[in-house]
């Protein structure tokens, strides 16, 4: 895991780098593609390529410690009788019990509830730990329908119909046999120890017209009480968002290619989907053209790490964001405390991504009872709450600097781009110019 090279005369190939050589050798040895967790690791244009234009003469800033900058968001105002109100625009993305330990799910619920935001279930259904600790719980409705039952559906505060995921748009999930414990097998109605394949298409609808009827069914079953989200992986985002709105979504969840996963082929993670930053303007345009921007809320995920990312996503048109990988890191994932054990697994703290193996030293992406016990849900929940507060404060800091009394008042006009790629994707001017590639001015 080092780039140090003692002999400066040695020249590494840009095309066949050491990582590429290692992967070819691994494929040749094993005959199977690489499966891993986490999200895209390649460098793609991201929020770091954007900057805010703070107020000066032509704009008036707000006092950092005196003047209020609102952060609350109401989700599901279009049709639901009971929309969800969250106190920070940072929500917790869908992650399954199965992929994560029960302790990790409980910790996510504790942390999110402490700061007044929502968590989301995943494949495999709703656990008592999660429902018990999450004051606002979004129930995912997935193609596999593992653990899906109407009692839990009626207990949920919102329903998220999952069409795709940023890490693998067009692909289903997989939970390899080593993570199928007794409890996971029972919840999913599968034999222990087998590879659990999650379908990539829903079993009882095809296309947006069918989806409209499916949404109507879910509304009928829940008596139109709770919001219905549609989650899509970022690809043809402009069209997907339009179809989601047409089908009757209250909220669109948009997951960019940096979004994480518990287990998928590396080739899928790195080569399918578009960067989060490139997808948001497409979604915002679709919502604006249909006259429902801010009425149908947009939740964006995929590579959100700090308050700057939160503020930039909102400025580009999101109403809220969702975090997955960052939340797991806040709980304790990839912590240097377990460096020795990561090394034994052939990895290192900061690199560990073999979530599918179920050997997570931090007790997060595992079903091993001994490893799971390492994670104290109360302490981990507290760390998550701390982190959520920090990134909310950071986003407020940036918004106040731009003179905004609410995060939602941020707008593309507050942003510039550092390079041409980011300017074209985010549809904001290159810094110091009024040039947005691809647009007339």
């Amino acid at each position: 895991m080092t780039d140090k090279q003692s002999n400066p005369a040695l020249r590494e190939s840009a095309t066949f780098g050491r990582d590429v050589i290692a992967e070819i050798q691994r494929a040749a040895e094993t005959g199977i593609y690489d499966i891993r967790g986490w999200g895209a690791k390649r460098k793609v244009p991201h929020f770091d390529d954007l900057l805010f234009l703070g107020a000066s003469m032509s704009r008036y800033p707000l006092e950092g410690y005196r003047e209020k900058c609102g952060t609350d968001v109401t989700l599901g105002t279009r049709y639901a009788k009971k929309p969800i109100v969250i106190d920070t625009p940072v929500t917790i993305a869908g992650m399954s019990f199965g992929a994560l330990s029960a302790q990790a799910k409980e910790a996510l619920g504790r942390g999110a509830s402490e700061v007044g935001t929502s968590t989301t279930t995943g494949d495999g259904g709703m656990t008592a730990e999660e429902r018990g600790q999450s004051t606002k719980l979004v129930y995912q409705y997935l193609p596999s329908r593992y653990g899906m039952n109407p009692d839990d559906l009626r207990k949920a505060d919102a329903i998220e119909i999952v069409l795709g995921q940023g890490a693998k748009p067009g692909g289903g999930g997989m939970l390899l046999g080593q993570k199928i414990s007794d409890r996971v097998a029972q919840m999913r109605n599968l034999p222990m120890g087998i590879d659990q394949r999650s379908a990539c298409r829903h079993p009882d609808w095809t296309g947006p017209d069918d989806l409209a009827i499916k949404i109507a069914e879910l509304r009928e079953i829940t008596d139109w009480q709770v919001p219905i989200y549609i989650k899509v992986g970022a690809t043809r985002t402009y069209y997907d968002v339009k179809l989601a709105v047409k089908a009757g979504a209250d909220v669109v969840v948009l997951d960019g290619m940096q979004g994480g996963t518990a287990a998928t082929q590396d080739v899928f993670i790195e080569h399918v989907g578009i960067p989060t930053m490139a997808a948001i303007p497409q979604a915002a345009q679709a919502l604006q053209e249909m006259g429902v921007h801010r009425e149908v809320q947009l939740i964006v995920s995929g590579g959100i790490r700090n308050g700057a990312d939160v503020a930039k996503a909102i400025a580009l048109g999101a109403d809220a964001v969702a975090i997955g990988t960052a939340a797991l890191i806040a709980l304790g994932d990839n912590h240097p405390r377990y460096e020795e054990e990561y090394q034994k697994l052939g990895s290192a703290a900061g690199y560990y991504d073999d979530f599918q193996e179920g050997k997570c030293p931090a007790g997060i992406s595992t079903q091993d009872p001994e490893l799971s016990k390492r994670l104290d849900p109360v302490a981990a929940g507290k760390r998550l709450a701390n982190y959520l507060r920090v990134i909310t404060l950071e986003a407020q800091t940036l918004a106040r600097a731009c003179g905004k009394s609410h995060l939602h008042n941020l707008e593309p006009e507050d942003l510039v781009a550092l390079n041409i790629e980011a300017a074209a994707m985010a549809r904001v001017p290159l810094a110091g110019t009024n040039w947005i590639p691809g647009q007339q001015f």
Binding site: T30, G31, I32, S144, R145, M148, N149, P150, D151, L153, L176, G177, N189, L190, P191, G193, I194, D195, R197, A199, P203, D204, W205, D210, I213, K214, A216, E217, E220, I221, T222, D223, W224
Partner: protein, 227 residues
């Protein structure tokens, strides 16, 4: 018997009333007149009531049913009794695609034929089809029984887990990892019981059993061509 007429009453009023435990505590028998193919009729029921639908129903009729006994005196659209947990759904006519999809329990009886993907991803439901079923039926079927008195289409039981499939007629083709299996006494008893519950008089010994070869349960590169 409480009657809702969907030519004048709204679907929302009907479903809301069917969900209201205070109402269903005293009204145990319901009739839906003039369904006219409406979608989502009697979905999300959670009480041991009986509902008769006098005519054709659209998508997701009796979806996610729990405890209730729903009879459709006509044909149904896509996803009848999808994700049913318990109770019984009886279709007197034909059923469209994905009948009983992902259902965890209860009994679904189709007097006519069922189209493609019947019992897709079934998770414990029992399904009896008196006629034929379409292609890709019981795809990824996890548990429960699919009994077919007629013929089955292509790729029956593709990627099946532990669901039991019994077919009396012909099978066009079997899907990946689905094989014909020995019909032992326990299976004859299982078919006999389901036929009796569905009101079908036929010899259980005339059925063949199909299920998982369990060769694709864990990924092996040698099986790559099967995926």
């Amino acid at each position: 018997m409480k009657t809702y007429d969907l030519s004048s009453d709204s679907l929302r009023e009907l479903n809301q009333a069917l969900h209201d435990a205070d109402i269903t505590a005293s009204e145990r028998e319901w009739r839906v007149a003039n369904p006219n193919g409406a979608h989502n009729i009697a979905c999300g029921l959670n009480d041991a009531i009986s509902v008769d639908i006098d005519g054709h129903a659209g998508y997701y009729c009796a979806g996610m049913n729990q405890k209730a006994n729903v009879t459709v005196h006509g044909n149904v659209g896509v996803g009848v009794a999808e994700n049913m947990m318990s109770g019984m759904v009886h279709v007197k006519g034909d059923a469209s695609q994905s009948a009983g999809a992902t259902a965890h329990g209860g009994l679904l009886v189709v007097d006519g034929n069922a189209s493609a993907r019947c019992g897709i991803s079934m998770k414990g439901v029992d399904i009896v089809v008196k006629g034929n079923i379409g292609p890709m039926s019981a795809f990824m079927g996890q548990s429960g029984c699919l009994v077919v008195c007629g013929d089955a289409g292509e790729a029956l039981g593709d990627s099946i887990y532990e669901a039991h499939i019994y077919v009396k007629g012909s099978v066009t083709s079997l899907g990946a990892d689905c094989i014909e299996k020995e019909m032992r006494q326990e299976h004859l008893d299982e078919v006999s019981d389901l036929l009796k519950r569905a009101g079908v008089e036929t010899d259980p010994a005339a059925f063949k059993r199909y299920g998982s070869a369990r060769q694709l349960y864990n990924f092996k590169v040698d099986n790559a061509s099967a995926y």
